[in-house]
Symmetry: C2
Subunit: 187 residues, 2 copies
């Protein structure tokens, strides 16, 4: 129910072809919790002013705008001062270079640290008394690093499945190494 | 008042000499908030099974036991499965190799992710109604990543100065890039 998202990239079909060659399709490696979303076999290198990170996962399917989701630890490491943003809200965010086996792409913007959020269906939202885009708190109890995340966005759509998404910094701050399931408390 | 601790190492005099040469003293670069503690000019490479991290700060003065404080992001990156522990509580923790300009040291244990804590004087503890080793919660309000840290250890000593210490993962999860001062709420 709580999924720790590793760094990843979403790409447009155009950028995908620039990186992997003409008509290259994304290859499904693993279905994700959100229906239709998948981790692909394709990997790219994310290049910042200070350093680069190799082997960054591309999530599919292709989107209308390329976007790079890094932890703030990653951003500091490669020298990009980014912002905490909801997916898709990339106006004014920094860009970076992506390098694939067949070419590279210079993104003008799109590097974000993802704002933590909970995907839920309309039925879930009704059950918990929440509405789309409501800001909620989620308490996570662990052995040594219990915490309560504020500023969590409820994202409601009939296409979603109930799952909270946090990044690796947030997972580590809660003492969660990977995905966990269990009761979480919304407030 | 809230200090984000970067990865660092504490060393014994013996280990310091193995790394930097006989009778090498730690050179004070910057005094830290806790009286007597300082960041030194000396840096070492921390070597794990998967990868190494260069230029890791040594904090002084020397201690009775060498200890390596990394974020869980660092630990995963270099391939060490460590535990969240209070400083000094290193029994059963993993070790690593340290490499300096004059030699290297193989630590049998001592790699920890630091348990978040608040240093305070006896007067502070009395003011807030807390006692040494009490587990408290601390709420930090930021623009996009407000959160409440549970499992925070109150550490009370006349030798301390009031300051909360969190690591870089925890700072990033709260949207704090560096040290901040301001009112925090204990509960």
């Amino acid at each position: 129910m709580i999924e720790v998202s590793a760094r990843h990239v979403h790409v447009t079909q155009t950028d995908l072809e620039a990186l992997f060659g003409k008509d290259h399709p994304l290859t499904v490696r693993k279905e994700l919790s959100q229906p239709g979303e998948f981790a692909s076999e394709e990997r790219v290198t994310v290049v910042g002013p200070k350093r680069e990170i190799a082997n960054v996962l591309i999530l599919g399917p292709c989107r209308a705008h390329s976007q790079v989701e890094l932890s703030l630890t990653d951003c500091r490491s490669i020298g990009i001062a980014t912002l905490v943003r909801e997916s898709g809200d990339t106006d004014g965010t920094p860009g970076c270079k992506l390098v694939g086996p067949c070419g590279e792409v210079e993104l003008k913007d799109g590097v974000i640290a993802a704002k933590r959020h909970v995907h839920m269906t309309d039925a879930d939202a009704e059950k918990y008394g929440l509405r789309n885009h409501q800001i909620i708190s989620v308490r996570i109890e662990t052995d040594a690093r219990t915490l309560t995340f504020g500023d969590v966005v409820a994202r409601v759509s009939p296409k979603f499945r109930l799952a909270m998404h946090i990044d690796t910094d947030e997972g580590n701050a809660a003492g969660i190494a990977g995905d966990i399931t269990g009761e979480i408390t919304f407030s």
